[in-house]
């Protein structure tokens, strides 16, 4: 019974991804201006014709649609139009792990700081710490990632020279600090707010009073009962958080020159590198959908009140 539900949900991903693909494909191919318009020397018409034939761009649109799709499903996204000697899958294979590491680091920072912050705010409700934390959260939510990154670069790198101003040396180097922190700020703020309000709600309930009147020590009450229940809604926003990190990476990677998927995507926009654009959109769409799916599947496991009757 549960497996049927799981299978149904996984299959539901397919129309969504198809929709994403179709929209992106249509938009990209309707966009006037081909991939070779941005080269420095104007390319003579017959050479353009041959280039188009070589890349399969002269076939009717619907055929390009299905061709690309059938190849993409097998993991072959074709050659990049800009870096012509490399295939898109290769480039993505190189850049995706970088972004993944950065995202993981950001997620870690956001969780390790955001959730305890939220818990402390709730526990010392309306105290000065609460106000400070709330202010930080609202500030974090209001500041877009490129602002954070630029300000951090300005402050920490240019003025104080604590960290380098750009580049990437792997996740353990000091070059990863600014990108990871800037990427983590918004999710951290969101997590702090959600944890706080969720915990506040839980602390007021009847079953908390039961737990205390049972004679449980306060720590046990907090950890064993309150937190476990408060964390549930927080998990539901995990999907949003992941999407935010994904989109935030465009800006952060571009500013800090991190060779990740985000920067690659931004570059491919101006270069009209269709396969890259479509490939990245599909990849990110898939990642976000899958993480939402995982959240959907895990949540009922943690909260038995949510029956399997979906």
């Amino acid at each position: 019974m549960r497996t049927a539900f799981i299978i149904r949900r996984v299959l539901a991903l397919i129309p969504t991804l198809l929709l994403i693909y179709s929209l992106t494909f249509f938009l990209m191919h309707s966009t006037p201006g081909g991939p070779w318009d941005s080269s420095e020397k104007p390319i003579p018409a017959d050479v353009q014709e041959r280039l188009k034939a070589a890349y399969g761009l002269d076939k009717p649109l619907w055929q390009q649609y299905t061709d690309f799709l059938s190849k993409a499903v097998r993991g072959d996204l074709g050659p990049s139009y800009v870096q012509r000697s490399r295939s898109v899958s290769d480039i993505i294979g190189e850049t995706f792990p970088v972004s993944l590491q950065l995202a993981a680091a950001a997620m870690l920072i956001a969780t390790l700081i955001g959730i305890p912050l939220g818990i402390l705010s709730a526990v010392r409700h309306n105290g000065p710490l609460d106000y400070l934390a709330t202010f930080i959260s609202i500030g974090g939510i209001s500041t877009p990632p490129y602002v954070v990154t630029s300000l951090l670069v300005l402050l920490l790198a240019s003025k104080l020279h604590w960290v380098p101003t750009s580049g990437w040396d792997g996740i353990w180097s000091s070059k990863a600090i600014i990108p990871a922190v800037s990427l983590a700020l918004y999710p951290m703020a969101v997590l702090a707010r959600y944890t706080r309000s969720s915990l506040l709600d839980v602390l007021r309930t009847d079953y908390m009073r039961t737990a205390r009147s049972k004679g449980l020590g306060e720590q046990a009450v907090l950890v064993g009962h309150a937190l476990r229940n408060a964390m549930l809604p927080v998990i539901t926003i995990a999907g949003i958080v992941i999407a935010d990190i994904a989109t935030g990476s465009f800006f952060v990677e571009t500013i800090y020159q991190v060779p990740g998927v985000g920067r690659y995507f931004v570059q491919s926009i101006s270069g009209r590198d269709y396969p890259v654009i479509i490939g990245t959109v599909l990849l990110l769409g898939l990642a976000v959908s899958v993480s939402n799916l995982v959240v959907d599947l895990v949540y009922p496991l943690l909260d038995p009140r949510i029956g399997s009757g979906r």
Partner: protein, 345 residues
């Protein structure tokens, strides 16, 4: 006598907590409560005033700017803040303060117009889905769900690329007119359309949820009994009742639109130079970060403070009424933020 209930209300939670945790939170006396309330009110008032000032600034921008925001003074390139140029000049000799003020205009215009577009698409969609139900409802909501699962910024970028290129090579009369309008507005029309197209889904969902719960009420049945047409029911009966939800969505959507616009302008897909969108100013400032850091600071702070002011002064979406066992009572129908799990940050 007034002190008692107030004191209880202020510390319902801390009463039960271990001494170690409570130690710092002294029993909430009357003075500290009053102080806290004053602080909170003052903060909201302060941000409200800031917003009003911003709006005034935006409206009267041409009269307030010390210099023309496009005037390039080649004798005063990249000047740090000084007596003549309070915030300095950029790399083309333009006064940053003036550009900042005009940027306020752009940001607010974008926030409002995009929200209007969103409502124009989303509200009817939600109303129609709720009112007719059945197949139409399923179709509309499935589309909404599918579009919802795409991270919005990603899609904004894709659509803006498409729009920009199409407008640049306009052929037919309509697109040419649109393109002319777009160039005149410095790329703003494109932004309005693009952002509006991406973000109407949450509004549609909320409206549909609210309207669907209203559908069962008696006044709708009565209206139908009197012979009201579908359109009339939707416009005159359902619509006024979904207004509160619309207002809440709008107050969240405006700062969101501002951030989006700055983001796409930053990437070069939004406002076109010389339009001084704050995002564009930030983008232009980054290559000069090391030598002329002040170019970055003003627009960055302006942007953050504006969005901050919006976020502080808007009424927080009411927490969902819960019964004491923790289950949510009215859920989405109450217009509260219960299950807002969705992608698309």
């Amino acid at each position: 006598m007034l002190a008692e209930p107030a004191a209880l209300e202020a510390a319902p939670v801390t009463r039960h907590l271990p001494s170690a945790l409570v130690a710092r939170t002294a029993p909430a006396g009357l003075w500290s409560q009053a102080f806290r309330r004053l602080l909170r009110a003052r903060l909201a008032v302060a941000s409200g005033i800031a917003l009003v000032l911003l709006i005034l600034l935006a409206i009267f921008a041409p009269f307030v700017t010390p210099y023309d925001y496009t005037a390039q003074d080649y004798g005063a390139l990249t000047q740090p803040p000084s007596q003549t140029h309070w915030l300095g000049t950029d790399d083309l000799g333009r006064d940053i303060l003036s550009r900042l003020i005009v940027g306020a205009r752009i940001s607010l215009a974008v926030g409002l117009v995009v929200q209007a577009v969103i409502l124009l698409i989303g509200v009817p969609a939600g109303l129609i889905a709720a009112h007719f139900g059945g197949k139409i409802d399923t179709v509309i909501m499935r589309t909404v769900d599918a579009l919802y699962s795409i991270p919005s910024l990603l899609f904004v970028i894709v659509i803006m690329t498409f729009l920009r290129a199409t407008l640049a090579t306009a052929h037919s009369g309509f697109t040419q007119a649109l393109a002319a309008l777009d160039t005149q507005s410095g790329g703003l029309i494109g932004i309005f359309i693009g952002l509006g197209l991406i973000n109407w889904m949450p509004a549609a969902r909320l409206v549909r949820g609210q309207a669907a719960s209203l559908k069962e009420k008696e006044f709708v049945e009565a209206a139908r009994g009197v012979g009201a047409t579908d359109g009339r029911i939707m416009a005159q009966h359902l619509l006024p009742n979904v207004v509160p939800i619309i207002v809440v969505t709008a107050t969240i959507g405006i700062p969101q639109a501002i951030i989006y616009e700055a983001g796409i302008s930053f990437l070069g897909l939004g406002a076109r130079p010389p339009m001084p969108s704050w995002g564009l100013m930030i983008a232009e400032a980054i290559p000069n970060l090391r030598s002329y850091p002040y170019m970055l600071v003003s627009p960055a702070i302006a942007l953050s403070l504006t969005v901050l002011a919006f976020n502080i002064s808007r009424r927080r979406s009411p927490r969902c009424p819960r019964s004491l066992d923790g289950t949510v009572v009215h859920g989405r129908q109450a217009g509260c933020a219960v299950n807002t799990r969705r992608s698309g940050g």
